[in-house]
């Protein structure tokens, strides 16, 4: 963490102030791909006394804070991270939500 703050400081001084964005990546299985975790939950719910639940699917989320010059750059960066690393495109897809942290704090 300390290292990041230092690098942040360095960037700020050298390149003008960059912004912080809070990122929420919502990874889910592509349509048509079997979802063993979802079906297991769906199977278990009735035995636990919860009926009338269906279409269960399980996914994962990755939240982080990223530094970028502006929102567009942030989006591009996040999209690359998602498609090359955070998801496996063979079976998964991702929804991305980005929020400017300074703006958020201003609220």
């Amino acid at each position: 963490m300390r290292r990041f703050q230092e690098s942040l400081l360095g960037t700020g001084l050298a390149l003008g102030v960059s912004l912080l964005f809070s990122v929420f990546v919502d990874v889910s299985l592509r349509k048509g791909i079997a979802d063993p975790a979802g079906s297991t939950i769906e199977r278990s719910l009735p035995t636990l006394g919860f009926s009338n639940v269906r279409d269960v699917s399980v996914g994962k989320t990755i939240r982080f804070v990223i530094e970028a010059e502006n929102e567009k750059e942030a989006h591009e960066k996040v999209e690359t991270i998602c498609s090359t690393f955070l998801t496996n495109p063979v079976i998964e897809e991702a929804g991305i939500t980005i929020e400017n942290l300074e703006q958020a704090e201003g609220n």
């Binding site: 939950i41 199977r43 278990s44």
Partner: protein, 732 residues
């Protein structure tokens, strides 16, 4: 300072006074917190220490007995074995997955702290009844947690036990044993020495994990109860961090870089720094600012008490620091110098080296001066035996048998039990058998190690002394069944609230029983763990001492006989026919309360074990199962369920003989041509024999009692656990 602070921290008034006397002044809150965790039952064994001293602990092959992080024995070929068992009962009751996972992580660190590479885990588990939804949730979570951590950290779980009983409702038992091997001459001890040497903290960053009761010290004070409640009491394990930590530490040991090393477990840095210093007879300065922190704004007491996982404290000479950093770098393990070994005996906690002193305590007082209690004991009133000869034991032996069968493979199929290519006999038999390899180069010695974990709360509830003797005897016989002789024993004493005199009596009786059996069999106790306050809603669990026994097989050239039966073979029961229903599975099934527990005759038991070992070693017998919980009936059915054919058995006069339990009995399957040899060797050893019948066909037939198709037995056996636990744990 609030006068009642010590009470909020769980210290009695007398204990607080003693601390004042040691320091010659009033302790500050940080110091008080450090004493409170170190003098807790968990760290100080204040209720049990007095009694544990009655256990026999020495033998020529014992290199390290109780007291260190693990026991160590010499197993020949220049190889030593480190072994230890520990409980993680309470954390597992709240967060089964992480509670069990961090239990595995903790026991592994105890083993590699000694310089050993962990090569095997065993888990001994007890849960409430399978009809209780929460108990099932706990059981599933615990098994997933052991699987998730053990598999990923890369240490095979080669065996264990699982049992269900209402006594464990709300208070499960999760005991984990680990065994490691090391070159005999590379023992590392957890001590500091050499004034000016450095204490280096390795591994994970420190967070507010397991602060527990000490969170009353948070500067927010008592006013902010909500926030205190939000403090995590549960720790999350990271097997990947631990894997790298193991590899880094073993490479550090190989390079001879440490003076001593200590894992961080209960009481975190407080325990590790004070223990290394006091063992080495030195002092230590600790710089809190050098401790990497996972969260902002941690206070001194939080850093000192945190039980964050996957951390080690290494004591090294300054000249070795560069080399140590290189190795840690390679394994991506964080390493920070956080302390210095000093002259004298003081443990000083500083906000910075050369900065303010936040605490100053004689290091050894945290351990050696901890109180020892001789708590009152009281034998419980005798329960009236509701069973007498007039009561019919069972109306339906078939349905009784079927409901007593349970295949633990649902559990152990979730555990990697084969990694390292050592596992000759894995889970599912009497004892697990591992190849003994040279820990440095992996060369095979052609010898083997055998391990078994055993416990039986039903026996111990009837009579903790005799019950514990029977449990030790079972461990010995389990080893004999795979051809091994015992070398050492570790134990985990799971008992209720020691402030209850009846619980204290159980504990004391159990220890005496263990001592007696270990003396008689010549097995040293090299380590153990005591878990007290196992109670829920004010009800104490049945006393449950669990023992882990390690043995050796000289010349391991063939696979030991398992449960499997071969068509045409003969079934012979070795051992006496004295059985009773005291503490038996059948009694538990029908709610009988009985007082009789058949005591073990040490001589007979030893003679039988010797005979069995020789029959196994020379290949005389093809199949073997010692009789334990469930007696002859369950043993026979388990063998059938693991075989391709049925059995036809006679000479079992009644249900009592079929389900009754008693010590020193082993069921074997032999080729017809070997029967005479077997019988005459048994006679020579003074062991009674009963020829029971033959192996073959597709039915399970016990003349006069049971006659069902083999598939009925198979399916009762294999479906029991999956049916009850199939719902699936979601969190992983």
């Amino acid at each position: 300072m609030d006068d009642s602070l010590h009470r909020a921290l769980g210290l009695t008034d007398e204990e607080a006074k003693k601390i004042g006397d040691i320091l010659g002044r009033k302790p500050n809150p940080l110091e008080l917190a450090m004493y409170s965790v170190m003098w807790s039952e968990h760290c100080s064994y204040k209720s049990s220490r007095l009694h544990l001293s009655r256990l026999p602990t020495s033998a020529p092959w014992v290199l390290v007995g109780p007291g260190e992080n693990a026991g160590v024995i010499d197993v020949g070929d220049g190889i030593a074995v480190a072994i230890r068992i520990e409980s993680h009962n309470h954390p597992s009751a709240i967060e089964p997955y992480q509670g069990a996972a961090t239990g595995v992580g903790g026991i592994l660190r105890d083993i590699f702290t000694m310089g050993a590479r962990p090569i095997a885990l065993m888990d001994s588990l007890r849960f409430g009844s399978l009809t209780d939804a929460r108990s099932c949730w706990i059981a599933e979570g615990v098994v997933s947690g052991i699987s998730g951590y053990g598999n990923a950290v890369g240490v095979p779980t080669v065996g264990g036990e699982i049992d269900f009983d209402p006594t464990f409702q709300g208070n499960p038992l999760v005991n984990v044993l680990c065994l490691g091997t090391l070159p005999r001459d590379r023992l590392v001890l957890g001590q500091a020495s050499g004034i000016g040497n450095l204490a280096v903290l390795l591994g994970a960053a420190t967070g507010r994990d397991g602060i527990g009761g000490v969170s009353v010290l948070a500067s927010a004070g008592f006013s902010d109860q909500g926030d205190i409640e939000k403090r995590p009491s549960v720790q999350v394990g990271d097997p990947f961090e631990e894997k790298r930590l193991i590899e880094a530490c073993l490479e550090i040991f190989d390079s001879n870089l440490v003076v001593g090393i200590q894992d961080l477990g209960g009481a975190g840095l407080t325990c590790a720094t004070s223990e290394t210093a006091s063992r080495g007879g030195v002092g230590m300065d600790v710089d809190l600012s050098a401790v990497p922190q996972r969260e902002l704004g941690m206070e001194a007491h939080e850093i000192m008490i945190s039980e964050s996982q996957e951390r080690m404290l290494a004591i090294i000479e300054p000249s070795n620091l560069e080399r140590l950093f290189e190795i840690c770098n390679k394994w991506e393990v964080n390493a920070n110098v956080i302390g210095r070994v000093t002259k004298g005996n003081k443990l000083r906690i500083l906000d910075h080296f050369e900065g303010n002193v936040l605490a100053e305590i004689p290091a050894s007082s945290l351990h050696d001066d901890a109180p020892i209690y001789d708590r009152p004991k009281k034998k419980p009133e005798s329960k009236k035996s509701v069973l007498n000869e007039n009561i019919k034991v069972s109306d339906d032996p078939t349905s009784d048998l079927l409901s007593l069968l349970s295949d633990p493979s649902w559990v152990y199929n979730q555990y990697d039990h084969q990694l390292f290519l050592n596992t000759v006999v894995g889970p599912g038999c009497e004892a697990s058998v591992l190849k003994l390899r040279d820990p440095v180069n992996g060369f095979e010695t052609n010898n083997g190690l055998a391990i078994s974990t055993d416990g039986n709360h039903r026996w111990c509830a009837v009579d903790p002394r005799v019950g514990t003797k029977l449990v030790v005897a079972e461990g010995l016989m389990n080893l004999a069944c795979v051809g091994a002789y015992p070398l050492a024993l570790v134990n985990c004493l799971n008992f209720g609230n020691p402030e209850n005199p009846e619980v204290m009596w159980q504990l004391s009786e159990s220890i005496d029983g263990m001592a007696e059996a270990c003396e008689a069999f010549g097995i040293p106790v090299v380590g153990g763990n005591v878990s007290l306050y196992n109670e829920s809603s004010g009800v104490n669990i049945s006393p449950t001492p669990v023992i882990g026994m390690v043995g050796k097989i000289d010349g391991l050239y063939r696979r030991p006989p398992g449960f499997e039966l071969s068509e045409g073979n003969r079934l012979v029961l070795l051992g006496p026919n004295d059985v009773g229903l005291g503490g038996s599975l059948l009694s538990a099934l029908h709610g009988f309360e009985t007082e009789e527990l058949i005591d073990v005759n040490f001589q007979t038991h030893q003679d039988l074990a010797d005979l069995v070992r020789s029959l196994v070693s020379d290949g005389t017998i093809d199949g073997i199962h010692d009789l334990s919980a469930g007696g002859l009936g369950v043993a026979l059915a388990e063998m059938v369920a693991k075989s391709k054919c049925g059995v036809s058995v006679a000479r079992i006069p009644d249900v009592l003989t079929f389900f009754g339990e008693g010590p020193s009995r082993v069921l074997v399957s032999v080729h017809p041509e070997s029967v005479n040899d077997l019988l005459s060797r048994a006679e020579g050893a003074n062991i009674p024999t009963t020829r029971l019948g033959l192996v073959g066909g597709d039915r399970f037939t016990v003349k006069g009692l049971i006659d069902v198709p083999k598939e009925t037995v198979d399916s009762a056996f294999v479906t029991h656990l999956p049916n009850a636990l199939g719902a699936g744990t979601v969190s992983s």
